[in-house]
């Protein structure tokens, strides 16, 4: 804590000589080595504390002398080596930490008792209210999800809100803060906004009632033309390009710009919002909308990609905008697609066309929804073989841009997890039941509000079986390999295949990126309700423990589902049993790999060459395509898929050899 003293007569004279004035010089205190020559043409009112201005600070490549120039400060504390210059109106009631730059700013004002974005209620999913998420500094995707989606449990909601409001109350401040190393330049009016360490606020039009969290590891940016009201923006986020946001949370490393507009919206880690408009959305991690004409509304997303002109409708002109959409992780909506709400789109689904029916198919992940002539059709399981799905699986973890030490959102990236596998097991049972019940002469049936071709019921079930076999036997094989690498005995294998009890392991939830057993969430809810978990730190510690338990829980699920699928627990397998299952795995893995490779190779088929070699002959058309797109022999994704297919064979052969040499 710096020690302050009153100004000397000589210092006051020097300040007045520099064109400075004060309501009362007695109210202005300074540190011991205060240099009055660094304060020019400025006015002070209220209690003012000024630091030492001894160094230079670099602005746009030019070293500038720290100090206060051409400014009016009221009730401010200014740290060491700060540069303040050309303030249009005034800086009112701010604590400005060391090494901050503030210049060409119209006004910075904080009102005593302001909450700086904390306590703002964001109406997600249901525009008319009922699923509001309360903003506070430590919000993350999981706590927001619990606020918005767990409305069935009134007692839990009351307790959760009480925990959150403790943090909201703590956010109430008598003054605004601009943390060490931040820069606020070329901005309009900024009112009741905390600005975090090393944050860059450059060219913002208007900001009010918000907190810009930031850290040296990953500074946040509010840039050119941004207008943001009632917000919390997390570390490493970037908002610029004339974006207009109101009642928003912007998560870590999320990027927003290019005239994007949002009202009542939450974006968690690594989202991207450009050009589009969103209203009342809950954008879980990795939700992306890049294109003009897209209006996302009243829906839940995660790992989502919006094609241009994607839209949903929540009105129906009855009781107002009360309809909501659930788009489970990994969904994609194609260009000018439309989904009538309410709808529940399964995980890793693709939506093509305008769907004027309420989709409700949570147990059919990896499906296509295609509209033709106003009729919606579902093709189950087909996205299992999309090269896009394969790309996504490796793309998301590689594109985790978060650099802050504290990664707020808990994110599981697995495409194939107990969550999706269990959905497929249920979906398969439903498809097979429908297939058996539907007469052969019937071409189509209705499932979840959409048409499904009868023939695809059995085919979809078969494809789900491939994915289930590949996952379950593959997970067991991982452990068999691990054990045999250490000790070539089946006893060692059996030991490695034991699992804790299989109670309550079939129900899984996706809490906006966090995959977990429902029983763990039930326990968390209970502990909050009975008061054993009464603080935010307790809640975050529990979420962290849940996140860390994924691998163990996954294995418990695998053991349970394996027994259910193949009639025996992994630990009861004999080498002969396992050899039989190995063939099943090989067939499943190979079939998925072949179908995926076929999908990728279609990118190089004749129809993909349309429009190449314009005006030249066939030979030039082929050469043009080869030069621009390459071939299946040169394309990195195709080559990787081929290597992957070969690796499946090699892995199976290696396993067979190991089984043959068991002790």
């Amino acid at each position: 804590m710096a020690e302050y003293r009153v100004l000397t007569k000589a210092e006051i004279a020097a300040l007045e000589q520099n064109g400075c004035s004060a309501e009362s010089w007695d109210a202005v205190q300074v540190v011991g080595n205060f240099d009055p020559t660094r304060v020019v043409n400025s006015h002070f009112s209220g209690e003012t504390l000024l630091g030492a201005f001894t160094e230079k600070i670099n602005v746009d490549g030019i070293d500038r002398a720290c100090g206060i120039y051409n400014a009016r400060l009221h009730e401010c504390v200014v740290g060491d080596n700060v540069l303040i210059d050309r303030i249009g109106s005034a800086i009112i009631n701010y604590h400005i930490e060391d090494n901050v730059i503030i210049e060409d700013v119209f006004m910075l004002r904080a009102e005593s008792g302001a909450q700086f974005g904390a306590g703002v209620r964001v109406s997600v999913l249901n525009e008319a209210g009922g699923r509001e998420v309360i903003l506070f500094d430590d919000l993350n995707a999981q706590i927001a999800y619990m606020q918005a989606l767990f409305r069935h449990d009134e007692q839990f909601q009351e307790k959760l809100e009480s925990i959150i409001l403790q943090n909201v109350d703590a956010a109430q401040h008598a003054y605004g803060v601009i943390r060490r190393g931040a820069a606020v330049r070329n901005c309009g009016s900024i009112r009741n906004v905390h600005i975090g360490e090393d944050a860059q606020v450059i060219g913002a039009v208007e900001l009010s009632n918000g907190t810009l969290l930031s850290c040296p590891e990953h500074p946040s940016v509010i840039g050119a033309g941004a207008t943001v009201h009632n917000f919390i923006i997390a570390e490493g986020a970037h908002v610029d390009g004339g974006a207009t946001l109101e009642n928003v949370y912007v998560g870590q490393a999320t990027r927003i710009g290019n005239q994007f507009t949002a009202e009542n919206a939450l974006f968690f880690a690594n989202c991207e919002g450009f050009n589009s408009e969103v209203n009342s959305i809950f954008a879980g991690p990795y939700s992306v909308t890049h294109h003009k004409s897209t209006l996302l509304i009243a829906s839940l997303f995660s790992f989502y990609n919006a094609g241009s002109g994607s839209n949903q409708s929540n009105h129906m002109y009855k009781l107002g905008p009360v309809h909501q959409g659930i788009f489970e992780r990994g969904s994609k909506t194609g260009s000018f697609s439309y989904v009538l709400l309410e709808s529940h789109v399964p995980a890793f689904a693709t939506i093509i066309g305008k769907h004027l029916t309420n989709i409700d198919a949570p147990n059919l992940p990896f499906s296509y929804f295609v509209e033709k002539a106003g009729v919606s059709y579902l093709t189950p399981a087909i996205n299992l073989f999309s090269v896009g799905t394969t790309r996504d699986e490796t793309k998301w973890p590689a594109r985790d841009r978060r650099r802050a030490n504290n990664k707020r959102d808990f994110i599981n990236f697995d495409v194939f997890s107990p969550y999706t596998i269990e959905k497929m097991r249920r979906g398969r049972a439903e498809l097979l039941k429908l297939y058996q019940e539907t007469p052969r002469e019937k071409n189509m049936i209705v499932y979840g509000g959409v048409q499904v071709k009868r023939l695809m019921l059995r085919k979809g079930a078969k494809y789900y079986s491939f994915a289930i076999d590949r996952y379950l036997i593959g997970k067991v094989m991982d452990r068999v390999e691990q054990a045999l690498d250490a000790d070539a005995s089946w006893d060692a294998v059996k030991k490695n295949l034991t699992a804790a009890d299989g109670e309550n392991v079939s129900e899984w939830l996706d809490i906006s990126g966090l995959l977990t057993l429902k029983s763990r969430i039930d326990a968390l809810l209970q502990r909050v309700k009975d008061g054993r978990m009464a603080s935010l730190s307790d809640l975050m510690a529990e979420l962290s423990a849940i996140y860390e338990s994924y691998a163990d829980d996954e294995w418990r699920y695998v053991a349970y589902a394996f027994k259910s699928e193949y009639g025996m627990a992994p630990a009861d397998l004999t080498p002969e049993d396992f050899a039989g299952l190995l063939q099943k795995w090989l067939n499943a893995a190979n079939s998925i790999a072949s179908l995926t490779l076929d999908d990728a190779e279609k990118e190089f088929a004749d129809f993909a060459r349309i429009g190449f070699g314009l005006g030249f002959d066939e030979e030039d058309r082929q050469r043009d395509f080869l030069a621009v797109r390459g071939s299946t022999e040169t394309n990195a994704v195709v080559q990787k898929l081929r290597r992957g297919k070969d690796a499946i064979q090699r892995r199976a052969q290696k396993m067979e050899q190991k089984l043959a040499t068991l002790k």
Binding site: Y368, L455, S591, S594, K602
Partner: protein, 81 residues
């Protein structure tokens, strides 16, 4: 099953699934080109063949079939006379 019978059934299913006239379908026609089968249609066609001929096809092998004639030969091997 005789090749002629397999051919008749393959062409009948192809015509139905790909909205073509059976008399216009030639053995040399490629499903993805002359007959316009996209990825989804190809899968539906395989499902239709499976049901028509009461088979459970190996996906890897089925993918190698490119033409109507190829499909007839492929099924002829699986369904000997």
């Amino acid at each position: 099953m005789k090749r002629e019978e397999i051919a008749e059934r393959v062409i009948k299913v192809t015509a139905r699934e790909l909205n073509q006239k059976a008399e216009d379908i030639k053995e040399s026609d490629r499903f993805a080109y002359e007959l316009g089968a996209d990825s989804l249609k190809s899968i539906e066609l395989v499902a239709a063949f499976e049901e028509e001929l009461d088979l459970d096809l190996d996906e890897d092998e089925a993918l190698k079939v490119q033409t109507v004639g190829g499909a007839i030969d492929f099924f002829a091997k699986l369904l000997p006379e």
